[in-house]
């Protein structure tokens, strides 16, 4: 099973260049992951951000507890809050709860994935394979579409209320 899984990761890596630009949705059991996207990074930049909307259509609470990707050493879950004009970013060590029936948006200025220890820069127009780990739903395979720095896909981030409450 593990070997099979690795085979998928390897093949999707080689397909990365040809993958379609548009982020799409991924469904696994009760969990739907919509529009996963990541930001392009510069040469030498060791971290990148990943964003998506996770919906739990099930009757039981779930929790995103982490993930893995062949393109970085580690996948962490972070949150950003604004407090008196100061940005504070923290790692969510216990993961991100996705309550039954709820949708949680990971977006700039709020919850996001951090790809730590990038092995190569994230190139716009490619996709990044990530295996998300949920407490209940288990592993969900997702492709993050890499967008240019100036693209702000699907969210007028600056015109919205940012702070996760």
């Amino acid at each position: 099973m593990k070997a099979f899984h690795h085979a998928i990761v390897a093949s999707s890596l080689s397909l990365a260049i040809a993958a379609p630009l548009l982020a799409r949705d991924y469904v696994s059991g009760a969990i739907t992951v919509a529009h996963p996207w990541a930001r392009k990074t510069a040469q030498g930049q060791p971290t990148g951000g990943g964003f998506m909307v996770i919906t739990n259509k099930g009757k039981a609470d779930d929790r995103l507890i982490g993930g893995t990707t062949p393109i970085a050493a580690e996948v962490q879950i972070h949150t950003v809050s604004m407090d008196g004009g100061i940005m504070r970013m923290r790692r969510l060590v216990d993961g991100l709860p996705i309550a039954a029936g709820a949708s949680v948006e990971l977006r700039p200025g709020s919850y996001h994935l951090m790809f730590i220890g990038l092995k190569a820069p994230l190139q716009a127009g490619t996709t990044v394979p990530v295996t998300l780990q949920f407490q209940r739903a288990g592993q969900v395979r997702v492709e993050f579409a890499v967008q240019s720095m100036t693209a702000n896909p699907g969210m007028p981030a600056m015109d919205r209320d940012h702070a996760p409450r």
């Binding site: 930049q45 004009g85 100061i86 940005m87 923290r90």
Partner: protein, 190 residues
């Protein structure tokens, strides 16, 4: 205590914005000299600071390249606003100062600011030079150790608008609309 000081400065900046600038002259400690002299290092190794930036208005922002979030969003927004200004967009400079000199070397900053598709001046400096710039702008930043040995940096998310003489004009705050930000930029270059 020092930290509290910085926070008060940030608060004072907001007061200035609220149209109470006139009051500041009666408060000796108010940041009327917001911006003051500073000298930092550009990606090509040259010194860039308050003296060399003089002559053109600029928008200056403090952050770090490993910030996946507020920093790229803010720089992308400044690039977008500049585009919206059309030919006038070139009438102000965009300056990004890294408060993570341990990780962001001048050449790293050069590569980072090149991602935004518009000229951005990326600066950083050693401890003393950075401390001076940060103090002048009343910027708060603090390294926060994360589980696993890494660190993030809490930092002020406002963009400071400086006129062609290097005098503080206003801030663009993180949660302000593009429309308001654009109006401020128009006033800055007007």
């Amino acid at each position: 205590m020092r930290r509290v000081d910085r926070r008060i400065r940030v608060g004072l900046a907001a007061l200035l914005l609220a149209g109470l600038a006139a009051c500041s002259s009666s408060q000796p400690d108010a940041p009327t000299a917001f911006g003051g002299p500073f000298e930092l290092t550009a990606p090509d190794g040259h010194t860039v600071g308050s003296a060399s930036l003089k002559g053109k208005p600029y928008a200056i922002f403090f952050g770090y390249t490993r910030c996946p979030d507020v920093c790229p969003t803010t720089l992308a927004r400044m690039a977008r606003l500049r585009k919206q200004l059309g030919p006038d967009g070139g009438k102000f400079a965009i300056v990004f100062v890294s408060v993570d000199p341990e990780h962001d070397k001048p050449e790293d900053l050069g590569r980072y600011v090149a991602l935004f598709g518009t000229p951005v001046i990326g600066l950083t400096g050693d401890k003393e030079h950075l401390a001076q710039a940060v103090k002048n702008f009343g910027v708060f930043y603090q390294r926060v150790p994360q589980p696993g040995g890494d660190y993030t940096i809490d930092h002020t998310a406002s963009v400071y608008l400086m006129d062609r003489d290097g005098t503080f004009v206003s801030t663009i705050d993180h949660d302000e609309s593009d429309q308001m930000a654009l109006a401020k930029l128009k006033r800055l270059i007007g």
